[in-house]
Symmetry: D3
Subunit: 249 residues, 6 copies
């Protein structure tokens, strides 16, 4: 079953586009078409550590989601662990599935273990992410957030150092906080999960691979069974007349 999936890097740099694309190509299902886009390269945020950065790029993310539906993508993934504009994106699409890293990672983690630690870059990130953990229903399963004290653009700078810090955080999460499953809470923490997982014998969810697979899964049940985002209440689509009159897209 063909699955056309768009990964949106919601930052104004294509720095990671090629890497994501090539990583996704390795792990996608054979008949999945995966594209990766980022925002227009006008001056703008190259990371979304602050919620105000998210806000400034939200309309462009939303336009990309809308465009994804116009271009017949079956799913769009908003590639930031804050899961920005998930509700709005599900409103503007009528058929295209939308998911995001925290949602996907948490659903997987809650199936694989019972006590989840999330390894983040900075303490600053925690309150917004914690809000999402509770919103999705996994507050009781949250063991801890652990901060690496690194920014988004630090993760890939010195791999050995990042690896060292991740392992230290995972060790504490396991031993002190009682975690039995780990989420790497940023899409740019890619490339680390497998070594940590194998060496420390604990499932480690990668925040970019998880939503890709969750998207394929959601597309499959959508195509097979017609199961899509409910259009009754919170994800109801706006009337076409307003969209047109207000030239939102």
């Amino acid at each position: 079953m063909e699955k056309k999936v768009l990964w949106i890097n919601p930052v104004t740099t294509d720095l990671f586009d090629a890497t994501f694309k090539s990583e996704f190509e390795k792990v996608k299902q054979p008949d999945t078409i995966i594209d990766v886009v980022s925002l227009s390269p006008a001056p703008g945020p190259t990371h979304l550590e602050y919620n105000c950065y998210e806000v400034m790029v939200m309309p462009e993310i939303l336009r990309l989601v809308k465009k994804a539906e116009d271009e017949k993508y079956d799913a769009a993934i908003i590639g930031c662990f804050y899961d920005p504009i998930l509700r709005a994106a599900r409103e503007v699409t009528r058929k295209t599935i939308v998911t995001a890293p925290a949602e996907a990672s948490l659903h997987i983690a809650a199936t694989l273990g019972e006590s989840i630690s999330i390894i983040v870059g900075r303490r600053k990130w925690i309150p917004e992410m914690k809000e999402n953990v509770h919103k999705y229903g996994f507050g009781e399963k949250l063991a801890s957030f652990k901060s690496l004290d690194m920014g988004v653009h630090d993760f890939q700078r010195d791999h050995a150092e990042t690896m060292r810090r991740i392992k230290q955080a995972v060790r504490e999460a396991k031993e002190k906080d009682g975690a039995n499953v780990i989420i790497l809470g940023c899409t740019i923490e890619f490339g680390f999960y497998r070594e940590v997982q194998e060496e420390m014998e604990i499932p480690v969810i990668d925040a970019s691979l998880a939503p890709l697979k969750y998207a394929e899964f959601l597309v499959e049940i959508n195509k097979k069974f017609g199961w899509g985002h409910s259009k009754l209440d919170g994800y109801q689509s706006p009337p076409d007349e307003e969209l047109k009159a207000w030239q939102l897209f």
Copy 2:
């Protein structure tokens, strides 16, 4: 104590600006300066019933908040009961207080009663608002949401009909849902609270008056005691270099 407060109508119409301004002038503290602005009249949403409408105007709201701080406003109120971009607004300001209708109304309601019903326009609004009720900590105190089956622009069209529906909803909230305090869950449901409150003998919180007063209160404790939004974690401000380099404002 002078308090300079900006009310932001986050819609692309100035339809309600004068009314709000004149209503606020009647009830503000003597030394409060209250200004009301709305968004630029370019084609755009004249109401925010859909989260995707919110998203499209979020950057402009954020810029207005930032500008409010530059223009020495002590407080900015984001005048929509969805409380859009509260986190981002508190990040970009370093001193200016930011609040919004649902936050203000819920804190008041939870002090005045123990079981809250929120009267909304449409069922569509409920999930996003319910998320906020839980986020702010008042989930246990929520008796019900009641829908009037009216859009934002219907409330002021036929006052008698709106009043009739509000009273019917409040009656059910009191009798069936066990509510003992009511919030009118839209800033445009203005002008109704007093008659309903007196006739039905239940406190009825108006969603535009509540945040004005809450803002004055927050400004006062900010000026007197230095109590402002914590800059430690979730409301930490972004670094100036990034703001400049990315030309966000």
Copy 3:
């Protein structure tokens, strides 16, 4: 990617095995091998409406799960909406993924909507199922349970009557309880979801199709990324010596 999946009908009748098998064949991924087994036909429960019936067949279910691993199944699905022995099954397998209808349906429903109603056969079933809803983290998203007042073996007896009752229950769930996504809370409520979903415009999750697809998804991320049930705490496997000494399998 080959995925070998075993569906266990945890009842002492093969009444539904062929039907399930043929339904699954229609919707499985091309390279999935799906087998359906039921328990030995000794006198014993032909449905599990009572927890004591579950208990009496639990050892045999567990042995089937263990055997599934020995026979290189990638996943085993315990086909009852009470999700019996999920913890024990995840202990005895070291590699094979185990899932079940309620877990799978709830994760899907919580992604598609925000307020879930579960349509059950009898009121008797509710407390045990409600326990699971809370255990999995979805208590806040539960709109209601609706009982059809039918036993497991009634659902397929008079399709028109079952359909009539389901539609009536879904109508109430939507209109009175505020549900925006539905789960048919028994694997034997099969064959109804699509008509209800299309006619009533609300996602309706079928409790046998959901776990099949969730199993395929879990197998895929297991094979690709090594993500399996955490062996650290609650799903830790027992020592081989004890298993042997006690001849449990």
Copy 4:
């Protein structure tokens, strides 16, 4: 707008009355009249660290609240962080607003930050205070209680020592417990908040200043909008006949 406010020191000593009065005079709104009273100097508790001490003075507190209404006070503040008899006080008043330190401090703290630590004198105080934190809805926002290991009458004995302990507790709250806003959980912990707040860069709520300002705020919305404690359920006033027949006041 004139606001006549009564602060009740619910202890049988006027030791702190003058200090509170003079501190309040400095920070009150210009047209607020603030009076401070304590209980009759008969032998009795000079602090309320034990709930049984509270109980023994509760009737006198209640009589003072009732008298406050007779004397046209707009608000009464029950000056102990256990918030004693808030419900009873709201019953016996028909118009006068009643608030208390924990309620006021928590509403403010939850608006300013997202993770609250409360600095108390002794571990003994924690269970009763924790009950209130949950009752008011802020359980999810509670980072920790930190004990200074000091009694109520120790706080003002050796200011340097008290300050040292508070700073140590705040440091731990910030660094280990993830707090981003602090409440000093006793009205007699006065005089410390500002230095701690400025030096440690975290909002520090003073438990005597907070309820004064919250009372002014509540009086203002009461006078302007008629918003007072709901008389429908939990704060319903008793019938006059019973009050008279039983000579309660």
Copy 5:
């Protein structure tokens, strides 16, 4: 094992003392000594429907509890379903066990069923009782409160009418609210439980019999195993010097 138990009717009338005494004599364990006292007959509340009535008699209740310990009672029961001053009473006793109707009834109900309805006299009572239900940990098991629209002194006036209303309330609780166990939420609702229970086939907990038996149980484990109220934190006893200096008892 001798168990000396004091039932305190916390009202200024001995109207119900003899009845309680004689009912308790019928059901107590053979070696239990049960005494019933009420408050001094000075003008004062003859019921505690309002929290302010409770407050006015709290010191006398506390003195009776203290006296009970002095007179070697093994347990004191504070006979009102609001469970007044449970914490204070556990502080002032060092050995004597203290319990109360709501605590006892809820622990029993939560063991016998999974969904509890509480039949109260008036809607006014609900918020304070609901607070206790949550405080004790049984919020998730609460099906509903049902009000009979009767005051405390109405229950025994017209038995047929009271019975009729109780049955109607229980019927609704069972059928509409999903209750499977009932508590009669006032000690003066005595004499009704058995007929309702047998006729309606649902356990019906009587709020005066439950705490008597719970007290016997707690005394037994106290005498046998030394298990009494923890003196570490919330129930820590005050220092004798203060009790003496302040002449509290």
Copy 6:
């Protein structure tokens, strides 16, 4: 009142039967008849540290419970702190009361203190036990689980070492986790509670004595007042025809 109670050691060894019997004889009520049985000595689990071990013996436990009712036992206690098959056991009995160690210990602990720590053998046990703590309603009162790093059969091997570890765990629970009441979370941790309790001045609940006394209590209210497990919903008994047809017992 005669109370006939059966303690079921749900393991395939009678190793502890005599000890339990003799300990119970010392503390039971005079007219209580207490019998202790274990499972058939066929090869099988001699402890239930793994949920899969529980599952394999569940049918035999259930048969013993059913037999207990046939033999006119008033109560059956399933003697493992995981409280296995409580629901099923309450279904198959129509009159006999069923309880278990965690349920009994938690109800007692929540009455005696406000913050509970549970001392377990291994970290492995925690998730399943934590599920029960939340299910019973005591999640908010849980201070911590502390692991002794010992298996079930280690507790009685070297009493001094076990005692040393328990005291160390209790010390940490009190000082670091804020516990004010302790539960020894395994029936085989017998013989230690009194010394720990007296030396460390904190109530310490023994997981075998607690359910014996709770059973006597439940039997007493059952015989006196007819209060038994609700047969309406979750504990409804299965129809006799099915039990017979399927030869389950």
